[in-house]
C-alpha cells in the first residue's frame, strides 16, 4: 500500500489524523466546531450572492411544486379568441398562438425543469461518486480505463450527441434525461476520484483496512462521507447546465413532446412568432435565467465558504 500517486488536490481538505494536544478537551472541540458552523452560516447570510441564490432557488422549487395552485389557468386550455394577446390583466404574460396562458405554461414548465434537474443530477451524482471512488481506490489499470472513458464522454459535444441520439429514437424526455446523466457523470467522477486518491493512504483508512474491513465497507463508511461534500456543491452548479440542456433540446423540438409545457417549448413557440408576439420569448426566457443564476450564485457562495480551494482559486 506504499504506492503513492501524487495528484493535484482540488477536493476536500486532507484529513488530519494526528493526535490532539493533551490539554484540549472534547467539549472545547465541540464548541469550536459549533463556532465554526455559526461563522460559516453568518458568512453565508451576509454574502449577497449566496442569499440571492437561495431566494431564487427557493422560488424555483416553490413555483414548480405549487404550480397547480399558482397557475391562473390550465396550461393546455385553449382560448382561441384571445390568441397572441399581449400582457393584459387576464393574461399577465400574454398568450400563445393557440390562446394558452403563457404564465401558467411557464409555471408548469418549471415542473419539467425540476423533474429533469432532480432526477438527472441525483442519478449522475450517485453513479459518478461510485465510479470515482472505484477509480481512486481500485487497481491502476481500472483507474486509467475509467479516466479514458470519462475524458471521451466529457469531450463529446453534448448537443451533437443529443442530435445523433434523437435521430434514432425520436424526441422524448427519457432521452434528454439519459443524455444529461451520461454527460455529467464524468465531472462528479473526477472530483470523487481525486478526493479518494488523497484519502487512500491516510492513516485512518489504512487502519480500517488493516482491521480487515472489506473494500465496500471502507468506501461506504469511511471514504464516502469525506468525498460527498464537494460533490454536493458541484451538484448545485450542475443544475443550471441540466436545466439549460433540457430547455435547449426542447427548444429544438427534441425534448418534451407537445402539448407538454416546458421553458424550451415556450421559447420555441415564441421564436416562431417573434415578430408578432415578442413577449413570449421574453417571458419564456426569464424563468430560465433566474433559475440558472440562482443555482450558480448559490453554488458559488457555498463553494467559497466550505471549499475555498475548489474552482476559481481564491
Amino acid at each position: 500500500m506504499s504506492e503513492n500517486r501524487s495528484e493535484p488536490v482540488t477536493g476536500i481538505p486532507a484529513v488530519d489524523a494526528s493526535g490532539l494536544p493533551d490539554h484540549v478537551t472534547e467539549t472545547e472541540i465541540r464548541e469550536s466546531a459549533a463556532r465554526e458552523r455559526r461563522e460559516k452560516l453568518r458568512s453565508f447570510l451576509t454574502n449577497w450572492q449566496g442569499l440571492t441564490g437561495l431566494i431564487l432557488v427557493t422560488a424555483f422549487f416553490a413555483s414548480a411544486i405549487f404550480a397547480s395552485w399558482l397557475a391562473p389557468y390550465d396550461p393546455n386550455a385553449l382560448d382561441v379568441p384571445a390568441r397572441l394577446s399581449g400582457p393584459t390583466l387576464d393574461h399577465l404574460a400574454g398568450t400563445d398562438q393557440l390562446g394558452r396562458d403563457t404564465l401558467s405554461r411557464i409555471l408548469y414548465g418549471g415542473r419539467v425543469a425540476l423533474k429533469i434537474a432532480a432526477i438527472g443530477v441525483s442519478v449522475a451524482l450517485t453513479i459518478g461518486l461510485t465510479l470515482g471512488m472505484i477509480a481512486g481506490f481500485g487497481p491502476r489499470w481500472l483507474d486509467s480505463l475509467l479516466l479514458l472513458i470519462f475524458d471521451t464522454v466529457r469531450s463529446f459535444p453534448t448537443i451533437v450527441l443529443a442530435l445523433a441520439t434523437v435521430a434514432l429514437t425520436g424526441p422524448s424526455l427519457t432521452v434528454v434525461l439519459a443524455i444529461v446523466i451520461i454527460t455529467s457523470i464524468p465531472q462528479y467522477a473526477r472530483v470523487a476520484r481525486t478526493a479518494t486518491l488523497t484519502l487512500r493512504n491516510t492513516d485512518f483508512i489504512l487502519a480500517e483496512r488493516s482491521l480487515g474491513a472489506s473494500m465496500t465497507r471502507t468506501l461506504l463508511h469511511h471514504v464516502m462521507p469525506n468525498v460527498v461534500g464537494p460533490l454536493l456543491i458541484l451538484a448545485a452548479m450542475d443544475v443550471p447546465v441540466v436545466v439549460t440542456v433540457e430547455a435547449g433540446l426542447s427548444f429544438l423540438g427534441l425534448g418534451v413532446t407537445p402539448p407538454t409545457a416546458s421553458w424550451g417549448t415556450i421559447l420555441n413557440e415564441g421564436y416562431l412568432v417573434i415578430r408578432d408576439a415578442p413577449w413570449m420569448v421574453i417571458a419564456g426566457g426569464i424563468p430560465l435565467i433566474l433559475t440558472t443564476l440562482g443555482f450558480t450564485f448559490l453554488g458559488e457562495a457555498l463553494r467559497d465558504i466550505f471549499d475555498p480551494r475548489m474552482g476559481k482559486g481564491r
Partner: protein
Amino acid sequence: MLYYLTKRLGLSAVVIGLVVLVLFSLLHFIPGDPATIALGPRATEEAIARYAEKMHLNEPVWRQFLIYIGNALTGDLGLDVFSDRPVTAIIMERICFTLALVGAGMGWAMLLGIPLGCLAAVKPNSWLDRVTGVLSVGTIAVPSFLVSIWALLIFAVQLRWLPAIGAGEPGQIGDQLMHLILPAFAIGLSWVGYLARMVRASMLEVMGENYIRSARAFGLQPRRVIFGYALRVAILPTITLIGMGFGGMISSTVFAEIIFARPGLGKLIFDAVMARNFPIVQGAVLVATGLYILVVLFSDILIAWFDPRVRESL
C-alpha cells in the same frame, strides 16, 4: 516531447475510432432494414435493392464497417439520400460558415475577456474587479441559445440594426460580416465571463510569485511585468479551458446557426436529423467531433510546448 506527442496522438486516434464505431452502429442499432429507413417507406423494391448494392448492405456487418472506415479515410463519407451528392462536398460547403462563426465568437470573447481578467487581477477588489466578477457569473449563467433569441429579438426584430437570418450574399464580405455579428455575439458572451474569471484567478496566483516581485524590484515597467512575465504563465490554464470548452462552443454554435438560420455544420446536422437523412448525420457528426478532437489535441500540444511539467506528467 516526441513521446508525449505520440501518446497524445494515439489517444486521439482511439477516440476518433470510438466515434466512428458509434456512428456506424447508429444505423445498425435501429430495428429494420437500413435501406428502407434511409429511403423512406415509399421506396420501390428496385430502389431499395440498388441502394443496398451501392451501400454494400448485403455484405456482413464487419466488412461494411471496414468499408466505411476505408472510405472515410479517403474522404468519402457516402452520398446524400435526397440529392445524391457526396456528403463530403456538402460538408465542405457548410463548414466555412461554422469556422467563421466559432472564430469570430471566440475572438471577441478573448479580446475582451483576457484583458478584463488581467485588469481585475492587477487591482483586486477595485470597482473594475467587482464589476468583472458579477459580469462573469452573469454571463456564464445565461444560456447561449437564450442570448441568441434575445439578441435576435432586440437587434434584428425590434431595432432592425442587423439582419436576422442567413449568412449574407455570397461574395459580399460586408454583408456576410453583418450577418456574423449577432451569432458571434451570442456564442461569445458567456466566454467573456469564463475567460475573465480564469485569467483573473491564475493571474492572482502568478502575481504572488517571487520572480514577479523581483521583476518589479528591478524597476521594470508595470505593463511589462504584467503582460511580459505574468500573463505568459497565467494564460496556460486558459488555453486548456479554451480547448476543453470547444465542445460547449460547438453546442452553442448549433443553436446559433439554427436560430439565425445560418447554413453551417450545426444547421446541417439538425436539418438532417429532422429529415432522417442518415448519411449526412453520420458524416457531419463525424466531422464535427473530429474538429473538436483536433482542437483539444492542438491546445494540449500548445500547453506541453509552453510547460515542460505537463510533458512529463503524461
